[in-house]
């Protein structure tokens, strides 16, 4: 099958959707399918460096959903896009976040192939979807099948477009890359209990709560360390919080390359993600669980669709640093509990392995092809 994957986000900038697209492309290729990726890129040379990648448009950072979306606003590229689509003749075009302004909206009306849309986002509300409904309804009608990465993401998109019936196909995790027993970063692997956070340093990830929780933990378990892997706009704030509270044991590692990230999980004893909301899923939780780590997370819909509290994780209310600190302290003091949660999480992570997820996506592609064929040639018009 020849598949075109379309992402609205900067393909050379780390992010949840981008990682999903990259892995999906990789696994579809491994299953013998031909895959092209369309996305904007902040690196001009990306088109030459990444095989089967079409760089469409420059990137503009647009604030939204308590984060920054790096999308293209180069609508004038529609002509180039049409030429590529005519040339490539895809069997399926798969749009990620099909209603995000920029590339997906430019491509949707022009594509003649069966079209699949995956909705990744979850938020309290979306002003664009709310006021743009009359226009976006037309775009949505082009989609032959839809996917949501979690139940919260599905409920969120159905709130605005009840006519959609997305199938829930979760994000996958690369269990070959994220596995237990990897070589740790040796100078961080000592007698301390390492708590790991992975993610962009932005408000919705709850970094401030984590720092407060770590203060609580450190006062009770002095031989502990917090490792923060990720960069973002709040780096300065986190640095100043650490120096204000004299938290010398906080390691702000910054942006960690993909090749090295699994070793950070291998260096940790506990994984913690205290997001305050707006997370539709928790890929980092799956990565941690696949690395056989116990996780401490906040009770937000996206995370609760992945973890089972008490079985593979400890959960606390969002924005409650003391409760978070207590949960971390309990885990830091109890290696047996850590091992039990980690084992349950490890078993669960195997069910999210990419080959399993890619097979589910392929099923949706076939369904889209059936729907598309029926749309082009409705049964009533088929001569007897």
């Amino acid at each position: 099958m020849k598949v075109g994957l379309v992402s609205p986000y900067d393909y050379t900038h780390a992010g949840g959707v981008t990682e999903h697209v990259r892995h999906l492309a990789h696994w579809l290729r491994r299953l013998g399918h031909e895959v092209r990726v369309f996305a904007p890129s902040s690196r001009r040379q990306a088109e030459y460096e990444i095989p089967d990648f079409y760089r469409i448009g420059r990137v503009f950072p647009i604030p939204g959903n308590a984060s920054v979306a790096r999308i293209t606003l180069s609508f004038h590229l529609a002509r180039r896009v049409r030429e590529i689509l005519d040339r490539e003749q895809f069997d399926v075009l798969h749009f990620h976040e099909p209603l995000v302004p920029g590339l997906p909206l430019t491509l949707l009306p022009w594509a003649h192939a069966p079209q699949v849309g995956t909705f990744h986002a979850f938020a309290r509300s979306n002003i664009g979807y709310h006021y743009g409904r009359p226009i976006l309804r037309g775009y949505v009608s082009h989609l032959d099948a839809t996917i949501a990465v979690s139940v919260p993401a599905r409920d969120f998109i159905r709130r605005y477009f009840p006519q959609l019936e997305p199938r829930v196909v979760p994000n996958g995790v690369d269990v070959d890359r994220f596995r237990p027993g990897l070589v740790p970063i040796r100078h961080l692997r000592d007698d301390r209990v390492n708590v790991l956070f992975v993610g962009r340093l932005e408000k919705r990830k709850g970094l401030g709560d984590l720092i407060q929780a770590y203060r609580y933990l450190r006062s009770r378990v002095p031989r502990s360390r917090l490792i923060v892997a990720g960069d973002g706009p709040l780096r300065g704030m986190v640095e100043s919080l650490c120096s204000r509270y004299r938290l010398e044991d906080v390691v702000l590692a910054g942006y960690v390359p993909d090749q090295v990230l699994p070793r950070f999980y291998g260096t940790a004893d506990i994984f913690c993600s205290p997001a305050t909301g707006r997370e539709s899923f928790g890929v980092v939780l799956l990565e941690a669980m696949a690395s056989r780590l116990p996780v401490v997370v906040t009770e937000i819909p996206g995370y609760l669709s992945v973890v089972e509290p008490g079985v593979d994780s400890l959960t606390v209310r969002p924005k409650s640093p003391v409760a978070l600190g207590e949960a971390l302290t309990v885990l830091a003091r109890d290696p047996l509990l850590r091992a039990r949660l980690a084992e349950a999480g490890y078993i669960k992570a195997q069910t999210y392995a990419w080959p399993v997820v890619a097979a589910q996506v392929l099923e949706v592609y076939r369904e889209a092809q059936r729907v598309h064929a029926a749309r082009l040639c409705p049964p009533a018009q088929v001569p007897a």
């Binding site: 070589v183 970063i185 040796r186 100078h187 010398e248 702000l252 590692a253 910054g254 942006y255 390359p257």
Partner: protein
């Protein structure tokens, strides 16, 4: 603390500048250091004079200045590490002697990469850590402590472990080698004062005997490697044929023999690029010191 704050302020600037501007800024600071850090300069000039006895005073001064200049650029590379991306670094490195590295890795006993304080290791180590095998640096602790912690944090993000020259560090190095990792260490300066005295450029100098001892005890291949900066500010890493140490039964003689082989190889490396041998510390001993056979053997592995 003031030194650390000063370093971080400079690092803040260099990190935000384009690479070439960062170098220009570093060279400016390097020029001040060359003028005012007289102790470091005279130590460097003394080392260079031993390595290159044929140079006259003027030539020596010129090499020393180029050395300071390259050292400043190496610092700029270090300062850019927090924002460096492996994908951006990769085109900057040209590797020669990969077959030697592969030969060393065939044994699956780890590889002890032996070098001197030369060139810029940031790029090579980061790329190796991301693509070849986990990399561990076995190196001296920097002063002040905050700077050392910053250095370790920054290396950690690129997958490089930094272990101190202590017993605990050595234990971890042995574990790393057992797990087939690459451990990089420089042997041109004996920080702990426990090495053996051998001839280095015809003068006695105390050289760490730990690598030779590990190689003899564990069968770990020793791979002499040099990373040079080229005039266009890219890097050339050269892996020389590995040394497979074979014990003969006389441990002290074996250690000395392997260490001498390493020193001989590294002498050639330094002679080829004296302007990149960044060692502004006195390392040579008075001529009569060669008589004292071995050091206290703090890092010597006992059977």
């Amino acid at each position: 603390m003031i030194r650390y704050r000063g370093f971080r302020a400079m690092q803040w600037v260099v990190e935000r500048l384009p690479r070439q501007w960062g170098y220009a800024f570093a060279i400016m600071v390097g020029r001040f250091a060359f003028l005012f850090a007289r102790q470091a300069r005279s130590a460097l000039e003394e080392n260079l004079q031993v390595a290159l006895p044929e140079l006259d005073r003027r030539q020596l001064r010129r090499v020393a200045w180029r050395n300071f200049r390259n050292h400043a650029k190496a610092y700029a590379d270090l300062m850019r590490l927090p924002v460096a991306r492996v994908e951006d670094l990769r085109p900057l490195l040209r590797v020669e002697g990969t077959e030697n590295l592969e030969r060393a890795r065939e044994r699956h006993r780890g590889v002890l990469v032996i070098s001197v304080h030369m060139g810029s290791w940031e790029v090579a180590a980061a790329i190796w850590a991301a693509t070849v095998a986990p990399v561990t640096l076995f190196a001296e602790e920097l002063e002040p402590r905050e700077l050392y912690e910053w250095y370790r944090r920054t290396r950690a993000r690129l997958g490089i472990s930094v272990l101190p020259l202590t017993r605990a560090g050595l234990r971890q190095v042995l574990v790393a080698l057992e797990q087939d990792e690459m451990v990089i260490t420089a042997i041109d300066r004996d920080i702990t004062g426990t090495g053996i005295v051998v001839e280095f450029f015809g003068r006695p100098a105390r050289i760490p005997d730990g690598p030779a001892a590990i190689a003899l005890r564990k069968g770990t291949p020793l791979l002499p490697v040099a990373v040079y900066r080229l005039p266009d500010d890219t890097f050339h890493a050269v892996g020389y044929p590995p040394i497979f140490a074979e014990p003969t039964g006389d441990r002290l003689a074996d250690v000395r023999c392997v260490t001498c082989q390493l020193v001989e190889r590294l002498e050639q490396v330094i002679r080829a690029h004296p302007d990149q041998w960044h060692l502004p510390h006195r390392i040579f001993l008075p001529p009569q010191s060669l008589e004292s056979p071995v050091g206290s053997g703090r890092f010597t592995l006992r059977r």
